[in-house]
Structures are given as structure tokens and as C-alpha cells.
Symmetry: C2
Subunit: 162 residues, 2 copies
DNA sequence: CTTGATATGTTACATCATAACGATTATCAA
DNA sequence: TTGATAATCGTTATGATGTAACATATCAAG
């Protein structure tokens, strides 16, 4: 599994691919990727980082696509529910999914210096956590896994990523 | 490692032990466990569940120990920094540590029905997540691991825990 | 005593999120 | 086509969570 986020890459292409994947998925599953929802996904893909709901809303407002918080939260709820975006609990923010095709258990690497976020994959439920849950009689349905630390750039003492 | 949280146990004793451990730790490390901080820890131990900062503040206010949000947040910050309590990101709430002595990487099992929380232990940084981080050049300093699912009682179709 | 570090009290505000309700649009069976 | 139903959107209002900033108080060390 590829960990996308810190290294340089072709933003234009990864945006294009994610949008295509979302459209294909919605077509297959009869989901309604409305202009509003599609635009919010685009904004997340263009930002290519964790963004707050109000930051997204500011853009929507500038474009005449909605001015009130529920507009942004509804679109984000659709995107998260269908796996096109994820919520980063630690940051109270949202980020476009970079593994749109894979059925996955996302995990995130969050830089505490510059707030850059990389998505990766982990299945904690298979290891110690799964064993502990089983022993406690707990049924895991979903897992929030967010590692906090320093991204490569900030470790190198370079200027923060942004 | 014992997973504490869902099963019945002696609350009075576990509160006593956690307070003793906190006092001993503070004495050893010259930390100032002020009445306010101590009381917030007691409130968390008595609640024995994840509690919001404002819920804690309500109790402090009733007792004349502080009325404004920073009072609660400062005490919680002290407790979290020193490992006597943890923040549950998924719930924006705080819970007393149930493994006060062990140097640990806490992980939590959160019931989505009744919001009960059990603390357990996991070291995701040793498994897939650690490998992914290393490959990405990311240095993990801390990890948020929160499994969401159903606790034993709610699985059994019993009335929710609370 | 004075100085510096720590802790507390308070105001004001910033940020994140949702309930509720009405208007509109899409869907589809009759 | 039409009427019923569900999904989506627009808006108001409010709730919930969290912090910046500054004044005051306490206390240990020089």
C-alpha cells in the first residue's frame, strides 16, 4: 500500500483520478454526486490537505454555491459516508481520500509542525487491538488511527511544508 | 494488559488507586497537583466515563472551584500532559487514565450506542503503521487509536449501559 | 524584599457543528 | 400525467467546543 502525502507528485493527475473514481463509484452505486458535493470534493483535492468545514464553506460562498454551515457539512457527510473523504478527528478537519478505489481501513500520519497529513493503511484490529477487543467482548466496526509526529520535511529542519 | 471499562468492578477502589498513583507520581516529579487539578481528576474518576470539558466545569462551578472554561481546560491540560487523563478525539471528551502506572500507548474501545469507553493498550507503531511511517520518512511521536463499535452490553441487546 | 515562574480569575471571542423547518427537485408507481 | 414519496437544498438560529489575552495571586530562590 502506497502512502501518499508527503512526497511530490502530480497534483493535477491525482485530482483527476480521484474525481473519475468518485464519478464511476457513484454511477455504479446510484449515488447522487451533485454539483455541490462534487465541488466540495474538488476543493479538498485542490487543497490537498486537511481543511476545516468553514474553510471549504468560504470557497463555496465565493462561488455562490452555498453560504450556511449545513451546506458544507452535508456535502462532507456525503463524501465521508461514501469513502471519498475522511475526517481527521485530531484536527477537526477533512481530507480527500487518496485511495479511492481500495476498500480500506485508513490511517493517517499528521505532522504536528505543519499539519501536513498523509493517508496510509493499517489494520490495528488484526493485531493487539483486535485481541484486546475480543477479550473484552467488544465488536470493532471502525477504527480511528492517527499518528502524530514530524513529517520528513519538518524533521530535516527545512522550512515547514507550508 | 488488562482492558478496563466494560466489566463491573470496584469503583471506589479504582478511584482511590488512581488518585494515590497520581499523588505519588506528582511527588516524585515535583508536579503541583493543586486542589483544582485534583478535583478534576476525581470528577473524571467518579464519572468513570468520557466527560466533556463543560460537563466537568458545571461540577466545578457548583462547588465554587471555577466558573469559566479556561479553568476546566487548564486542569485537563495538566492531567493529559502528565498522563492522568486522556482525550478521546472521537468524542471531544476526556477520561481518567485507568493504567496510571504503566508507560503506555493508550488505545480506546468506544461504544457507538452508549458511548462507554474502555482503555486498552496497543502499539500500532510497531506494526503496519510503523512500517508505513518509516517508509514515508515520518517520525511517530504519539498515536491516536480509537476503535468504534459495540460494547458487550449493547451487543447483547440489553438496555444501553447508561 | 524582589524577582521570576507558576497558577488562577475573568472577559471576550474563535471555531466547530447541528436542530429545525420550509422550499425545491427527482423518482416512480398508479 | 399526476400525485405521493424521498432526496436535496436554503436558511435561521443555536448549541458545543476551545483559546487568546490580560489581570491578579502565590510562592520559591536569590
Amino acid at each position: 500500500m502506497h502512502t501518499l502525502g508527503f512526497e511530490h507528485h502530480d497534483h493535477h493527475r491525482c485530482k483527476r483520478e480521484a474525481l473519475d473514481a468518485a464519478e464511476a463509484h457513484c454511477a455504479r452505486h446510484r449515488l447522487n454526486l451533485t454539483p455541490q458535493r462534487r465541488r466540495v470534493l474538488e476543493i479538498l483535492l485542490e487543497g490537498h490537505r486537511a481543511m476545516g468545514a468553514y474553510e471549504i464553506l468560504d470557497t463555496l460562498r465565493d462561488e455562490g454555491l452555498g453560504a450556511q454551515p449545513p451546506v458544507a457539512y452535508r456535502a462532507l457527510d456525503f463524501l465521508v459516508t461514501n469513502g471519498f473523504a475522511h475526517k481527521i478527528e485530531r484536527l477537526n478537519a477533512f481530507i480527500a481520500c487518496t485511495h479511492p478505489d481500495a476498500t480500506h481501513t485508513p490511517a493517517f500520519l499528521i505532522c504536528r509542525i505543519c499539519d501536513a497529513v498523509a493517508e496510509t493503511h493499517a489494520e490495528p484490529a488484526r493485531g493487539m487491538l483486535g485481541a484486546a477487543a475480543e477479550a473484552a467482548g467488544f465488536e470493532i466496526e471502525q477504527a480511528v488511527v492517527e499518528a502524530v509526529g514530524r513529517c520528513p520535511r519538518c524533521r530535516d529542519g527545512a522550512a515547514p511544508c507550508r
